[in-house]
């Protein structure tokens, strides 16, 4: 079996008032996109920052290609933080060139600019970019050393849907180059689209890990019936159904779609806005944490 590119062993991060990470262990095989999912405060940013070597753990360790994080890791890792400011008064090209100068090897500045579709913005002051353009620049900076492993911490939070899709396309093109990607995200659609394996965290602990398909198969043999909350009558509530109530909708998981539909009709539930769909990562997340993923 190939050695994993990254191993996390018994990671603990203790702050005076709280335990942010409470004994997390997992390993990431080379060449996959690994998703770290969790609600706010789950400990995923702390975990990812320890994995990046930015934050020291209270105990436990992270190993890159079998070695503790060191110079080799810093030379070969690309990092996109949740929030980053760049140096003022530099253009896009100069910002990329600054970071390129910090690595012994890597891509040509113009190649990185092309890769992230920044050609038309190359001479613009980096402070004058839109949110999506800014994220593309930060992604470009994280690619200057042609990293073997790329950390993306909630890279599309706050972007509009079009900018988010455009960013996903960029990440897919990086995946196609056989890079290992560690991605933390709030967006299930993002995780489903990009991740080969996911780990779900809550309260500093790992709740589940595996490929999205495998996890869904393990936790859901059923399909989901989705109804508006107001359509779910008191009579329906009295039925013996497996129900998850979210903010504005009610979801029923069932093996027997026809039988459940009959029960709902008998309880005089209006079915005009009924949706039937297979279970997705959001359902899995709700099932495991009891929380909605996005705040």
């Amino acid at each position: 079996m190939n050695q994993p590119i990254l191993e996390v062993r018994d990671l603990v991060k203790q702050y005076p008032a709280t335990t942010a990470v409470a004994g997390v262990s997992f390993s990431v095989p080379e060449g996959i996109c690994f998703g770290l999912l969790g609600p706010n405060g789950a400990g995923k940013t702390t975990t990812i920052e320890i994995m990046e070597g930015i934050l020291p753990p209270t105990s436990g360790e992270v190993r890159y290609r079998g070695e503790p994080l060191g110079v080799r890791f810093r030379e070969q890792a690309g990092i996109l933080f949740q929030k980053t400011a760049l140096q003022d008064f530099l253009t896009v090209r100069q910002s990329i060139a600054l970071f390129r100068g910090l690595y012994a090897t890597g891509l040509d500045v113009e190649e990185v600019i092309r890769l992230c579709a920044l050609e038309k913005l190359a001479n613009r002051d980096s402070r004058k970019l839109s949110g999506g353009q800014q994220q593309r620049l930060l992604l470009a900076i994280s690619l200057v050393n042609d990293p073997a492993i790329l950390f993306l911490d909630e890279p599309t939070t706050g972007l509009d849907p079009q900018a988010r899709r455009s960013f996903w396309e960029l990440v897919e093109s990086i995946k196609a180059r056989r890079k290992t990607i560690i991605l933390s995200t709030h967006y299930m659609e993002e995780a489903e689209l990009l991740c080969d394996e996911i780990a779900i965290m809550d309260r500093g602990q790992l709740l589940a890990m595996g490929s999205p398909h495998k996890l869904l198969h393990e936790h859901f043999a059923e399909v989901m019936l989705e109804l508006p909350r107001q359509a779910f009558t008191p009579a329906a509530r009295a039925l013996k159904l497996s129900v998850i109530e979210a903010a504005e909708r009610v979801e029923i998981s069932t093996h027997d779609v026809e039988g459940t539909l009959r029960q709902l009709l008998e309880a005089q539930v209006p079915l005009a806005q009924l949706r039937i769909r297979p279970a997705n990562l959001e359902d899995l997340f709700l099932e495991l944490t009891g929380k909605e993923l996005r705040p």
């Binding site: 110079v71 810093r74 008064f89 600054l98 910090l102």
Partner: protein
């Protein structure tokens, strides 16, 4: 290592040069100060002779000459201090009451010539000794102080605020995720600020020097060495203050706590000669005091490296100590 240091140095220089407001302010403030101070203090002298007397307190009964009208007599606590002043025409004549009565007159001073006649009329037996030296105008004496003050502000606030801003914005955290070391980052900041300060100081030296017709008595290479060591010491001090904090207000306060005593006690505006010993002791803790002592010795007295060696050594040692402490206590991110 050099490649990474140069990358950060180049980016920091670009940032400084493109920040037009800061650049303009850095150049304009000292020019305005010198022109203003020159206007206030560089005007015609008062029509009065000034004679120094080597004595702790003037006693007008001690000699008939001390009763002369239109002559101001000032007590000089020691002979070397009085000789320095008569050499630089800060006083017109120096008198030692003896016995025997001795006096020193500057042969280049017209006022010294006249006041000597007055003295000999009052006491023909007075023993004459001569010194020579051009007059030092207040504006000439002030000039090194203004250059030093500009360096101090530029070193401390320029570096201190920049590092805190980088830390607060998360830029330092991003740099920490690269192979860049704290020493390389700090080294780049020191070199960037050092080169900018030397450039700005050279422009100010030439520009203001031309305006006030200043001619340095000493060696320019030695003066450059004073400027380099002084800037290194004060940049490193700024980095020490900014090494771990992330609040601009706190760092601004700490920098003010440092700069105000230096402004008042390092001898920018007036000499500390005659001030209490403890004040002089405190003043000599500040790098700026050593900068100004060395710069004035070179610029006004033509001193050589031997005379200012203690000042240079102090500046070099403090630069190393501050830089080592700054690198040791440096934090990339907000804790």
């Amino acid at each position: 290592m050099i490649r990474r240091l140069l990358a950060v140095l180049h980016a920091r220089n670009l940032e400084f040069v493109r920040d037009r407001g800061t650049l303009l302010f850095t150049l304009l403030l000292p020019i305005m100060l010198v022109v203003g101070m020159g206007f206030v203090f560089g005007g015609p002298e008062r029509p009065l002779f000034k004679v120094g007397v080597v004595t702790p307190r003037i006693d007008r009964q001690a000699n008939a000459f001390l009763s002369e009208r239109y002559v101001e007599f000032v007590a000089e606590p020691d002979e070397p201090g009085g000789l320095y002043k008569v050499t630089h025409q800060q006083i017109d004549l120096l008198l030692s009451l003896g016995p025997p009565l001795r006096y020193w007159v500057n042969t280049d001073s017209p006022k010294g010539y006249i006041v000597e006649k007055l003295l000999l009329a009052a006491d023909p037996q007075a023993h004459r000794e001569v010194v020579a030296g051009a007059a030092v105008r207040y504006v000439d004496w002030l000039f090194p102080g203004i250059l030093g003050m500009n360096m101090m502000f530029s070193c401390l606030f320029g570096v201190g605020y920049v590092v805190v801003r980088y830390r607060k914005s998360g830029f330092l955290k991003r740099l920490h995720a690269t192979p860049l070391s704290a020493f390389e980052f700090l080294g780049a900041q020191v070199l960037s600020r050092l080169s900018l300060i030397l450039f700005v100081t050279a422009v100010l030296y030439l520009g203001i020097g031309t305006i006030i017709r200043f001619h340095s008595a000493g060696n320019m290479a030695l003066l450059l060495l004073v400027a380099v060591l002084s800037a290194l010491s004060m940049v490193a001090l700024g980095l020490t203050i900014a090494a771990r904090f992330s609040s601009e207000e706190l760092v601004g306060g700490l920098l003010n706590v440092l700069t105000w005593p230096m402004m008042l006690l390092s001898g920018i505006w007036f000499s500390l000669e005659g001030s209490p010993r403890w004040v002089q002791w405190i003043a000599h803790v500040f790098p700026l005091t050593h900068t100004l002592d060395a710069a004035r010795a070179v610029m006004l007295d033509g001193a050589g490296i031997r005379q200012i060696a203690p000042n240079l050594l102090y500046l070099a040692l403090t630069a190393l100590a501050f830089l080592a402490f700054g690198a040791w206590s440096f934090r990339w991110r907000i804790d």
